[in-house]
C-alpha cells in the first residue's frame, strides 16, 4: 500500500480539502493519503469529506503546529 502526503499547511478552507480531493481522484483504491493542515476547519472538514465521498478516515493527530489526517481512498 502506497502513501502520499498532501501538504496544505498555511492554506485556508476549502483549499486543503480541494487539494486532498484532487490527489484522491488520481489515487488507486485503498491508497492511504496523509494531509498536513493548519486551518482549523480541516479537522471537521476532512471527516465530513470522508463521510460524504465514502472514504475511510483512519486518524487525525496533531503534530506540532499542524494536524495530520490520514484517509484511505475508497
Amino acid at each position: 500500500v502506497t502513501s502520499e502526503v498532501v501538504d496544505a499547511r498555511g492554506l485556508r478552507c476549502p483549499l486543503p480539502i480541494i487539494r486532498l480531493a484532487a490527489v484522491a481522484k488520481e489515487a488507486a483504491p485503498q491508497t492511504v493519503l496523509t494531509l498536513w493542515s493548519t486551518d482549523p476547519a480541516a479537522e471537521p472538514d476532512v471527516a465530513a469529506w470522508c463521510r460524504m465521498r465514502g472514504h475511510e478516515l483512519l486518524d487525525q493527530v496533531p503534530d506540532g503546529d499542524h494536524l495530520v489526517s490520514r484517509v484511505r481512498v475508497r
Partner: protein, 391 residues
C-alpha cells in the same frame, strides 16, 4: 448612508433594496411593522426617564411596566420575574455571572451544550466550563449532560431552546429534569426560538433576543423565576431593573409589542415558512456534494443550513448577493472569524461552503423559488472558480 425614511413608505425605518430576498433572518429579522409602530409611538410618549416622578417620567414608567407585563404573559411568568437588559449578550452575561456570584460558595463550574450561542460560551468560558456533546442531528446528549452536572462545583447549566444555525430544538424537558435532579438551575437561551415556536416552560432562567422576532436591537430579555439564587452585580436600586440598569423605554415597548405580534401570527407563519423551507431543502439536496443539515428531528420552522463541498463560503455569499439574496454563512473563510462554526464542527457537519438561511416572517414564495432556481448555478460557479468542478 441614506437617511431613515418614514411616512409614505409605510413606516420603513431603513432602506432595504430587496426585502423579499433577505434570507438571513435567524439572528436579526427585519422589523415587524407592529414593532416599528410601537417604537415610533413610544419615542413620542415614553422617551423620559422612567425613574422620575414627573408626568413624563410616570408615563414612560407606565409603558415600561406594560412592556414587562406583555413579555411576562408570553413567557407565562410573573411580571417582576422579567428583566430588560442591554441586549441578548448582556442578558446571558447577567444570568451566568449573577448565578455564579450567588452560588459562589457551592463552586463556579458551568455546564453548557457544545452548540450554544457564542454569547453563552463566552460568558461561561473559564477553566471550569464543561461542555456536553450533541449528536449528528445537533440534539443534546442528555445522559452526558446529566453526567457533567454531577461534576464537583457545578452551579449552573445552560441549554438553548433551539439552535439558531441548524434549527434543531433541544430536549428541554429532559435537560431540566436532569438539572433539577442535580440541584443545578437551568438557563435556557431562547434567542433562536422565542416568537417562532411556543415559549419553553422547563427553565429557571431564560434569555431572549428581540432582534430574532423582528423587534429592534439594543435590548434583551432575561427572566429569572422567583426562588432562583441570582445576584446581579450592578448598583442595586439605582435602575428600574435588578441589574441596576434602566432600559430605554421605547425599545422595551417595541420588544414587547413585536413579541405579542409574532406570537399571534406564530402558527400561521410557522406553517407557511416550514413549507417554503422544505423547497430549499429539496433544491439543496439536488445539488451534488452538498451536506444538507436538515435532520428529521423537531426543528425551527424558518432556519436551515447546508454546506457545499469544495466551495468558499465567502465567495458563495457574494455570488448570492449578486443574484439579489442576502444569506449568512458559518464558514471560517467568511467575515470576521478564523474559526469554523463550532455548531457544525460539533455535529460532524461540513463547515466550509456553508449557507445559513433564516426565512423572515412574510417571506414571499416567489423569493424562495427564485433562490432555489439560482442555487445550483451559484454553487457550480464558485466551485469552478476554485478549479474544483470535477473532483
Amino acid at each position: 448612508v441614506a437617511p431613515p425614511q418614514t411616512g409614505d413608505t409605510g413606516g420603513t425605518l431603513c432602506v432595504v433594496t430587496r426585502p423579499d430576498a433577505y434570507l438571513d433572518a435567524a439572528s436579526a429579522a427585519p422589523l415587524r411593522p407592529a414593532a416599528q409602530e410601537a417604537l415610533a409611538a413610544a419615542v413620542q410618549e415614553g422617551w423620559a426617564d422612567p425613574r422620575r416622578l414627573h408626568r413624563e417620567g410616570r408615563q414612560a414608567r407606565l409603558l415600561l411596566d406594560g412592556a414587562r407585563e406583555a413579555v411576562a404573559a408570553v413567557l407565562r411568568v410573573r411580571t417582576e420575574e422579567v428583566t430588560f437588559t442591554a441586549g441578548h449578550e448582556d442578558a446571558v452575561g447577567a444570568a451566568v455571572h449573577g448565578v455564579r456570584h450567588a452560588r459562589r460558595r457551592a463552586g463556579s463550574a458551568v455546564v453548557t451544550s457544545a452548540v450554544e450561542h457564542s454569547a453563552v460560551l463566552h460568558a461561561a468560558r473559564r477553566e471550569d466550563h464543561l461542555t456536553a456533546p450533541v449528536d449528528r442531528d445537533g440534539v443534546l446528549d442528555v445522559p452526558r449532560f446529566a453526567a457533567a452536572l454531577d461534576s464537583p462545583g457545578v452551579v449552573l447549566a445552560c441549554v438553548q431552546s433551539a439552535n439558531g444555525e441548524v434549527g434543531t430544538l433541544q430536549p428541554l424537558a429532559a435537560a431540566h429534569a436532569a438539572a433539577r435532579a442535580a440541584g443545578v438551575p437551568l438557563l435556557v437561551d431562547a434567542a433562536a426560538s422565542l416568537g417562532h415556536v411556543p415559549a419553553p416552560t422547563g427553565w429557571d432562567l431564560l434569555a431572549a433576543d428581540p432582534r430574532a422576532w423582528g423587534s429592534p436591537g439594543g435590548i434583551g430579555v432575561l427572566a429569572v423565576r422567583t426562588g432562583v439564587r441570582w445576584s446581579p452585580s450592578g448598583p442595586a436600586g439605582e435602575g428600574t431593573e435588578p441589574t441596576g440598569a434602566t432600559p430605554w423605554v421605547p425599545l422595551a415597548l417595541a420588544a414587547a409589542v413585536g413579541l405579542q405580534d409574532a406570537v399571534t401570527a406564530m402558527d400561521a407563519e410557522a406553517g407557511r415558512r416550514r413549507t417554503l423551507l422544505d423547497r430549499i431543502v429539496a433544491a439543496a439536496r439536488g445539488v451534488p456534494d452538498v451536506d444538507v443539515i436538515a435532520p428529521d428531528v423537531d426543528r425551527l420552522p424558518h432556519v436551515l443550513t447546508f454546506s457545499c463541498l469544495y466551495v468558499d463560503g465567502e465567495a458563495l455569499v457574494d455570488e448570492f448577493a449578486r443574484a439579489g439574496f442576502s444569506i449568512g454563512s458559518g464558514s471560517a473563510c467568511t467575515a470576521s472569524t478564523l474559526e469554523p462554526s463550532h455548531v457544525l464542527a460539533a455535529m460532524g457537519a461540513l463547515t466550509h461552503g456553508n449557507v445559513r438561511i433564516g426565512l423572515p416572517a412574510g417571506v414571499s414564495p416567489d423569493a424562495v423559488d427564485r433562490f432555489c432556481a439560482v442555487l445550483p448555478g451559484a454553487v457550480a460557479r464558485v466551485r469552478a472558480l476554485l478549479g474544483a468542478d470535477d473532483l
